[in-house]
C-alpha cells in the first residue's frame, strides 16, 4: 500500500521538503496546533512523519503521549533543523542502556 510523508518543522525545513515533494507540511508556531496537526497526521495515510529535534523537544511528552497506542505506522523520524541542533544525549544511547543495562561505546571504525 502506498502512503505519504509529513513534515513538521520551522519555515525553512518545510519549504525544503515541500520542494522535494513531501505531501503534508506543517510549520510549527505554537504547541497546541502542532500537536493537533501531529495527531491528524497519525490518523491519515501517512507512513513517515519527519519532525525537527527543536520542535520535538518543545512539544516534549505530548509527542510520546500522542504516539502511544499507534500501530507500526507511522514512523516518526527526528532530524536536525538548519541550525544543526541535536540533543546532547542520543536517543539510542538511552535505549541501549535500558535494553542491555550497560552503556556501550561504539568506536568509529577505521576506513
Amino acid at each position: 500500500m502506498s502512503y505519504k510523508i509529513a513534515v513538521i518543522g520551522d519555515m525553512d525545513t518545510t519549504i525544503g521538503f515541500a520542494l522535494a515533494g513531501v505531501t503534508y507540511v506543517h510549520v510549527h508556531r505554537d504547541i497546541e496546533t502542532t500537536i493537533s496537526k501531529f495527531k491528524e497526521f497519525i490518523s491519515k495515510d501517512v507512513a513517515l512523519i519527519i519532525i525537527t529535534y527543536a520542535v520535538a523537544e518543545e512539544i516534549g511528552d505530548e509527542l510520546d503521549r500522542a504516539l502511544r497506542g499507534k500501530k507500526l505506522l507511522p514512523v516518526v523520524l527526528k532530524i536536525p533543523d538548519k541550525t544543526g541542533y541535536r540533543p546532547p544525549v542520543d536517543e539510542f544511547v538511552r535505549m541501549m542502556r535500558r535494553a542491555i543495562g550497560a552503556e556501550i561505546v561504539i568506536r568509529e571504525e577505521a576506513g
Binding site: 500500500m1 502506498s2 502512503y3 505519504k4 510523508i5 519555515m11 525553512d12 525545513t13 518545510t14 519549504i15 525544503g16 521538503f17 515541500a18 520542494l19 522535494a20 515533494g21 513531501v22 505531501t23 507540511v25 507512513a47 513517515l48 519527519i50 507500526l72 505506522l73 514512523v75 516518526v76 523520524l77 532530524i79 536536525p80 533543523d81 538548519k82 544543526g84 539510542f92 535505549m95 541501549m96 535500558r98 535494553a99 542491555i100 543495562g101 561504539i106
Partner: protein, 212 residues
C-alpha cells in the same frame, strides 16, 4: 525465602512441581538465547543507523545551506511561493518484515529524485539555485526514509529485548526459586511424615510385644 505456595504435601504434587520447575528452567534458557540473538541483531541495526544517519544528516545540512543561498538570491517569499507550487505527491510503500520474530516496518520509495520539469514550479520565474535546493532535499529525503526504517527497527527490537529480559528475569528470580522452595517444602514434609510414621510403628510394636 519465597513463600511456599499453598500446596498439599503429597507425592503427586511433588511430581507436578518438579515437572513445572524443569519446564521453567528450559523456558529460561530459551529466553536467554533469544536475548542473545536480539542483542546481536540490535547492534547490527544500530551500526547501520549510525552509518546512514551520518550520511543523511550531512546531506541535509548541505541542503539547508543551499536553501539559504537560494533564499538570499531569489528572496524568501519567492522561494516559499515555489515550494507551494511544487508537486507534492511523493508516495512511499510501507510493509512489515519479521526480524527474530519481531514485526518491524519497512519503508520503500520508488523514486525521490525528479527532473526539474516534474517538480511543478515555474522554471521561468525561478533561479537555477532552486533546482539545486530541490535536488538536495530529494537526496536527503531518500536517505532519511532509509534512516527512519532503520531507527524504527532498532526501537522495536529494543522494546522486544526489554520485554524478553523482563520475562527471563521473572523466571530466574521469582518463579524458579518459588518452585524450588515449594519442592523443598514438600520433600521436607514428606520426610517428616516418614519419620513420624516410623516412630509410631516402633511404639505400636513395643505395645504389642508387651501385651502379647
Amino acid at each position: 525465602m519465597a513463600q511456599a505456595l499453598a500446596i498439599s504435601p503429597t507425592r503427586m504434587e511433588l511430581m507436578k512441581l518438579r515437572r513445572r520447575a524443569s519446564l521453567a528452567k528450559r523456558g529460561h534458557e530459551l529466553l536467554r538465547e533469544k536475548m542473545d540473538a536480539l542483542i546481536i541483531e540490535f547492534f547490527e541495526v544500530l551500526r547501520r543507523v549510525r552509518e546512514v544517519r551520518a550520511k543523511a544528516f550531512d546531506q541535509l545540512s548541505s541542503a539547508y545551506k543551499s536553501l539559504s543561498m537560494c533564499m538570499a538570491r531569489m528572496g524568501t517569499i519567492e522561494t516559499q511561493q515555489a515550494a507551494n507550487e511544487s508537486k507534492r505527491e511523493l508516495q512511499i510503500e510501507a510493509s512489515t518484515r519479521l526480524v527474530m520474530g519481531v514485526l518491524t516496518p519497512t519503508l520503500e520509495v520508488r523514486k525521490v529524485e525528479r527532473s526539474a520539469l516534474e517538480r511543478g514550479y515555474s522554471l521561468y520565474t525561478t533561479s537555477p539555485l532552486l533546482d539545486e535546493v530541490a535536488r538536495n532535499f530529494e537526496v536527503s529525503l531518500r536517505l532519511l526514509i532509509e534512516l527512519a526504517e532503520l531507527e524504527e527497527s532498532a526501537r522495536v527490537i529494543a522494546g522486544e529485548l526489554e520485554r524478553t529480559k523482563r520475562r527471563a528475569n521473572a523466571l530466574e528470580y521469582i518463579i524458579i526459586p518459588r518452585l524450588l522452595d515449594s519442592i523443598k517444602f514438600i520433600v521436607m514434609r514428606l520426610d517428616e511424615m516418614e519419620r513420624e510414621n516410623f516412630s509410631r510403628m516402633k511404639r505400636i510394636k513395643a505395645m504389642m510385644e508387651r501385651r502379647g
